[in-house]
Subunit: 470 residues, 2 copies
């Protein structure tokens, strides 16, 4: 659906790139870390999403002639623009696997490229990964509440413009089964779902005729929306009539949908009436401002709802609506780099790095990821990243490396993964985390630490700049 | 940037359309209202945005061959798919002008088309108008706080994926002067702005060299980011050095930017030091989690900040992140239509309609918009839409019609408007509203009412369906 060219960026990336080019720095290698500082939704984890989207775009990230004409009009240097004519991203990416469980502070992905390339991809990388990670995480929370019931993404109309497209993709990774979003269904191979709106019923003089016409047109896929006039007095009896008629033709009414009122109460009434009419297989779908908390409540009340349609709160990632992911320089022109801050938590981590997930002797999670220099192959101890007096030792543990090469010289190192595979991987990885990390209220805090070597390197650099300015 | 085909929709639109087609209803005329129920941000008004985007897309809204192949695989009817091959939107749109001030309940736009057309454009219409209206409104509030200072949209990296594109457009309508978003700048003719990130400074061994190189490359457009290591001890003195060097070359340092710390305190320190160095014309720009409240506070403290860069909170429309706009059937197959609800505020308004803005004998706003049947040409009295005992009479007033034809038979009725014109119109319209409507805390409530005739028609229909179900 999208055509992303290299002007999908912030202007400062291009302005900085011009200086790098003029100073010959486009030949220097830079390493940037992508990470975030705060978990969304006051939750205990996040699900990394958007990687395949990013890789697909970076393989073809170029300036069009129109782009270059526009930049010329903006007064950019003509030699630099000549250079941009042939610009392609030819760098390397080391990344966490899409769908894996990720935590603040630790690099989720590292870009290693020349300064110009690394800078010009910053904005699109942040834009894609921040949003899809946010939505996959939200979807995963909703899945947690919904248990085994079916979840459908209904959010397109309230999404942030074409953010809808990637929202549907990320929702599937996080645990949704289907979407109403046709173009996302088509492009990402997500099952699509949808039946009728109130307007359909309103457009008829009689609700029953509306239901009958729909059932005739979609005998295998009829879910009747029953709250246009009166759920229990009109919608439900009419749905039962149509359900019986379909049954007598050897067809099956798939479901009824509730979109207003007390969903738990109405679902029970519907279930009883449908069962009495011999329509035990007709599902009950519910929608209307649902989120993980409302669904949890409906499940606690044992409202017999089989399908939840979730819209706005899913696709905008309510209430956070943004993940605070950043992209920070860690290495350039042969040297480690750092950004200082009065706020210690905003100090960045220098160097090329690796992240290890620590497991005990049985292979179970030990509750910690350790950030190390890239060439460290073992971790026996880690330090709190911002409170160096706190350390944690591991004995008899193994360390699973989380960053691996996903792009080399601008080319993917493996074929595209299906969304279904990413989702299955994500589900498997999340299942390793105990309930304490997954609960909504004050979840257990997963530990992130840094190795002795990385700590030493960071402190050395920090002292260097502090002494310089004192 | 985008390629929107007619699969940019919810599946149920297509499923309903198939039934309409099979029942010959694609020849019936339908009228749908677009309106919202709740003002965003607990504010007193909203700014309608997205219309030009919608018109441009609807003129070319068709199914591609790929779309039709996909729908065939989904099991849709082949005669219906043949019909969709030639599908084009050939309906009429009556709309509020883009940039005008709008309120809940009253139709912002009416679509009049055959049932299939009207249904198939619902999702994209809601998706585009809800989001841009949300962001233009947010931008307008930030403009209110910023007074005459410059506002730049920095939000792309935290936007909801390609929602960034329309966010930048809407932000400009609402009162921003520029954006960092290059592709939005190119496509919508918005001034673009941007200088350097922390990574630029970090990539050098010396901050001063970084500043010098940038100034040399961009002599007309240098704003130095001064908080990478230490704002007052390093960034500011280095910026002053470069500012003096530029001055001696007959050039001018445009500004310095603060992106952390106490912005008010630091801005004052910077202003004093710059002034003492004879750099009175160097502007001070500030960014870092700004919104209308933070900017109001900075202005109250008289922090000498000339330029505000606003990111996340602008482009996601924090904290609401969605406008609850809906699209409801008002008329179909020659008859007015209604949707009932247990919640009276969710009752819809039947019929083709007009909306009038009431003005007193001096032409000033009377604080009310009245919704009437489309052929009513005068309004002397209006009724509260949901509390019919409340009425308001107008004497000596004039009524300005707010809905006018913007598309006829699928073609725009006027040439595209520039974003600059839409913004100027919006500013003029907002200036008619007194401070009471614009304040952030408990703003004055603008009145929306319905005419006697519309009330009577609505009650008649309501009784009809109530009696049917009792």
């Amino acid at each position: 659906m999208h055509q992303f060219t290299a002007t999908y960026t912030d202007l400062y990336q291009i302005n900085m790139a011009q200086v790098y080019f003029q100073q010959g720095k486009h030949k220097h290698t830079a390493v940037f870390d992508y990470f975030f500082r705060k978990l969304p939704f006051e939750g205990g984890y996040a699900i990394f999403a958007g990687l395949e989207t990013l890789l697909g775009i970076l393989e073809n990230f170029q300036f069009s002639d129109e782009d270059l004409g526009f930049l010329k009009d903006q007064g950019l240097d003509s030699e630099f623009l000549d250079y941009l004519k042939d610009f392609k991203f030819e760098g390397n990416l080391f990344s966490t696997k899409e769908g894996d469980i990720v935590f603040p502070t630790r690099p989720v992905l590292q870009v290693e490229a020349n300064m110009v390339e690394a800078q010009l991809v910053e904005t699109i990388l942040l834009n894609l990964l921040n949003f899809q990670t946010l939505i996959a995480t939200k979807a995963s929370r909703i899945r947690k509440s919904a248990g085994k019931e079916m979840l459908i993404d209904f959010g397109m109309r309230r999404a942030q413009s074409s953010g809808a497209y990637h929202a549907s993709r990320a929702a599937f990774i996080g645990g949704f089964e289907a979407t109403s979003n046709v173009v996302a269904g088509k492009d990402f191979n997500i099952p699509i779902s949808g039946t009728m709106a109130h307007s359909f019923v309103q457009s008829y003089d009689e609700e029953l005729t509306a239901f009958r016409d729909f059932a005739e047109s979609h005998p295998k896929n009829t879910i009747l929306l029953i709250d246009t006039y009166d759920t229990l007095k009109s919608g439900l009896p009419n749905a039962i009539t149509v359900g019986e008629e379909m049954k007598s033709r050897g067809e099956e009414l798939k479901g009824v949908r509730l979109d207003s009122g007390d969903l738990s109460y109405l679902a029970r009434k519907c279930r009883n009436a449908l069962d009495e009419a011999g329509l035990q297989d007709v599902k009950i779908a519910a929608s209307n401002q649902l989120d993980e908390y409302v669904i949890r409540s409906l499940k606690e009340q044992k409202g017999p709802i089989d399908v939840f349609g979730v819209g706005t709160n899913l696709v905008i990632g309510d209430p956070d609506a943004a993940l605070d992911g950043v992209y920070k320089l860690a290495f350039a022109n042969g040297k480690p780099r750092i950004k200082l801050s009065e706020n210690l938590a905003k100090l960045t981590m220098p160097h090329k790095k690796q992240v290890y997930r620590i497991r005990n002797s049985k292979g179970e999670l030990a509750g910690a990821d350790a950030v190390t220099l890239r060439d460290e192959t073992e971790v026996h101890r880690m330090n709190h990243p911002f409170e160096p007096s706190k350390t944690l030792s591991f004995t008899g543990c193994s360390a699973e490396p989380l960053l691996s090469s996903v792009m080399k010289n601008g080319k993917r190192t493996y074929p595209p993964k299906s969304l279904e595979d990413i989702k299955a991987f994500s589900r498997k990885r999340l299942s390793e985390f105990s309930e304490e990390f997954q609960r909504f209220e004050n979840p257990h805090i997963y530990k992130i630490g840094i190795s002795d070597q990385l700590l030493e390197e960071r402190e050395k650099l920090r002292d260097h700049y502090k002494n310089k300015n004192s």
